[in-house]
């Protein structure tokens, strides 16, 4: 069997020969699982700009999967020049592996997060249950849908946002905040493993009164599954979710693609780049774009993980670690 495996390997290596040769003017962006359409638009614009600026053709390849899986793949040899993730902790994994420099947050503006979003609500058309804020979600007559926070990064933001809301509402009383989140979890009839499955539960199986997911995604869902059937509710308070980017130093140094990688990520901060990001439902910082899209994006107060929880390290230790607060709340169900 060993010999056959070896033969197979050699055969396969021969067939994939062309992939070995490095084509110049080509970079790989490893991104999270639901950013495909966004980066199709971004890449098209950047490739045109790059051609205009340098006269050279550029190809941008996209890899999409959960960002923790992407980090793992890069550590194992997936040659991504840049990462565009939805969890900064996953870029920190790359720092630990020596692939990204420790000060990556300072390499680009806004802690290297060119756009942001936050957990928002998607309700059925007409909002029959009159759901407007987080405290509506713990009412006895409301069924809430979001995926399992143990397996979904998206749902972890929901958990933290609910906790942050309750902490603010109850004057920093941690016990009351915990009770609030527990009540919220009691209102969830089914915990799916991922965001897409939760969407199916809510939109196609017609279970629950409200789906909680990133604001950017609520618009995509309404667009795909019927804007006449659903309505986006932006709560007055939520928790800011960063979408961090980084150049993968180890890869770009090997391939000599650092300049392209930097230019690509910087493009996300330009007015053109920010416009594309906003068109895809993401909140941005560029004032001219913020102004142009202000009708689409209602104002809301955004708390941050740093201010409410004292940073991701603390969140990890106190909430998400084995036996942490999330386990205690989730385990009590």
């Amino acid at each position: 069997m060993k010999r056959l495996l070896l033969v197979g390997t050699v055969l396969a290596a021969l067939v994939s020969g062309p992939a070995l040769a490095e084509t110049p003017g080509k970079i790989l962006n490893a991104s999270y699982d639901i950013s495909r359409e966004l980066f199709v638009a971004v890449n098209k614009a950047f490739i045109a700009k790059y051609k205009a600026d340098t006269g050279k053709d550029l190809q941008i390849d996209q890899s999409h999967a959960g960002s923790s899986k992407q980090a793992r793949s890069i550590l194992e040899g997936l040659e991504a020049d840049v990462v565009t993730f939805n969890q900064s902790t996953d870029i920190d994994q790359l720092v630990k592996g020596g692939f990204v420099s420790a000060d990556w947050r300072k390499s680009f503006a806004n802690d290297a997060s060119p756009y942001y979003s936050f957990p928002a609500f998607l309700v059925r058309a007409g909002n029959p249950k009159q759901i407007k804020n987080w405290d509506d979600l713990v009412r006895d007559d409301v069924k809430v849908i979001f995926p399992n926070p143990k397996t979904s990064g998206n749902a972890r933001y929901t958990y933290l946002a609910a906790y942050a809301f309750a902490k603010q509402a109850y004057g920093n009383d941690e016990a009351k905040a915990t009770a609030f989140v527990k009540k919220l979890f009691d209102n969830v009839p089914v915990f799916d493993t991922g965001g897409r499955a939760a969407t199916t539960t809510f939109a196609e199986r017609n279970i629950g009164d409200v789906l909680i997911t990133f604001e950017a995604e609520t618009r995509g869902i309404a667009k795909e599954l019927g804007s006449d059937k659903f309505q986006v509710i932006v709560p007055p308070v939520s928790l800011k979710a960063d979408f961090p980017v980084a150049v993968v130093d180890k890869v770009v140094d090997q391939r000599g693609s650092r300049e392209i990688a930097k230019a690509y990520l910087s493009f996300l901060y330009t007015a053109d780049g920010q416009k594309i990001l906003a068109e895809n439902g993401n909140r941005v910082n560029e004032p001219s774009v913020v102004d142009a899209f202000k009708d689409q994006f209602p104002t809301t107060q955004l708390l941050t993980v740093n201010d409410v929880f004292g940073g991701w390290d603390k969140v990890q230790k106190e909430h998400f670690a084995s036996g942490g607060l999330l386990d205690q709340i989730y385990g009590q169900r």
Partner: protein, 294 residues
């Protein structure tokens, strides 16, 4: 033979027969036909335009090619392996025979995800051979070789498992007779063994092929998910689905289904062609009857 002359046996009453046939038909419709219809309907739910655009998209075409290339390498290698393994186990006595039998079965009982992760540990940069391969400029993970290897692991038992019970039942007598009459090993295999096992072999190959093309878990880990390059059809379907391209996802799923149906049709055609004497079940029963009534 008239029906009334022999005592009725269990299961021959019309009620039982009807219930049984009806039960099987309903379950087949629910489990097989309904989902297939749903795929076809959903694929065209956004119109023929979206369906055509999905198929014409370079990413979809690349995913189809990737899936076909994987099958083109993995299936022949696993067929050769399965034949060799079945032959060794049933025709030779050697120490470790039962151990080999168990080894072949392992991929059946191990989750494909485990296989994928195991390949990460072996060929990954943090793994055993990763750094060595990197120095040699050989790319296995996140490229076709990794996908082929993972698919081969998952489907390694298919051909062997089809052949071993049959070859065990057939025994070694015919081969031994051929050898004693002076046939070479290759002649014996080609003229005695192969004709006896060809339908089981074909069935194993079809199963192996279907599984290679449909494999998701193991491939998902080692592919790197680069769209247009290392995405196979199942991975492409997942990507479209996650991206709220439901119609596109179903269109890609329909392509995968059509390819699968084609392999089944190919099998049936092959069977017909070689069916002069041995058409499974029906043909065998026919000859048995013919013998009974001289």
């Amino acid at each position: 033979m008239p029906h009334s002359t022999r005592p009725a046996r269990v299961g021959e009453g019309t009620g039982v027969r009807r219930t049984l046939i009806g039960f099987v038909l309903v379950i087949s419709a629910l489990l097989v036909v309904a989902p297939l219809c749903v795929i076809a309907v959903e694929a065209f739910s956004k119109g023929v335009g979206v369906f055509a655009a999905t198929i014409a998209h370079p990413d979809t075409r690349s995913a189809i090619l990737m899936t076909l290339a994987t099958a083109l390498i993995a299936v022949p290698v696993n067929t050769a392996f399965g034949l060799a393994a079945a032959w060794s186990i049933t025709k030779f006595d050697f120490p470790g025979r039962s151990l080999l039998l168990i080894l072949i079965e392992i991929p059946f009982s191990v989750s494909p995800i485990v296989a994928g992760v195991a390949y990460l540990f072996v060929y990954g940069m943090q793994g055993l051979f990763g750094p060595l391969l990197q120095d040699a400029g050989i790319k296995i993970l996140f490229a076709l070789p990794g996908i082929v290897l993972a698919s081969m692991f998952v489907t390694a038992p298919f051909v062997a498992r089809e052949l071993i019970p049959l070859m065990q039942a057939q025994g070694r007598d015919l081969e031994e007779a051929a050898t004693s009459l002076g046939a070479s090993g290759w002649q014996t295999f080609r003229t005695v063994t192969l004709p006896n096992i060809k339908w089981a072999l074909l069935y194993g190959v079809i199963l192996c092929n279907a599984r290679v093309m449909g494999e998701f878990g193991a491939v998902s880990i080692v592919s790197g998910n680069i769209r247009g390059q290392t995405n196979t059809l199942p991975l492409h379907i997942e990507l479209l689905y996650h991206d709220y391209q439901t119609a596109g996802a179903f269109a890609a799923a329909l392509i995968l289904t059509v390819i699968a149906v084609f392999t089944i049709i190919a099998k049936v055609l092959l069977e017909r062609r070689g069916a002069g004497r041995v058409r499974p079940i029906v043909a065998t029963l026919g000859t048995a009857e013919a013998k009974d009534q001289p």
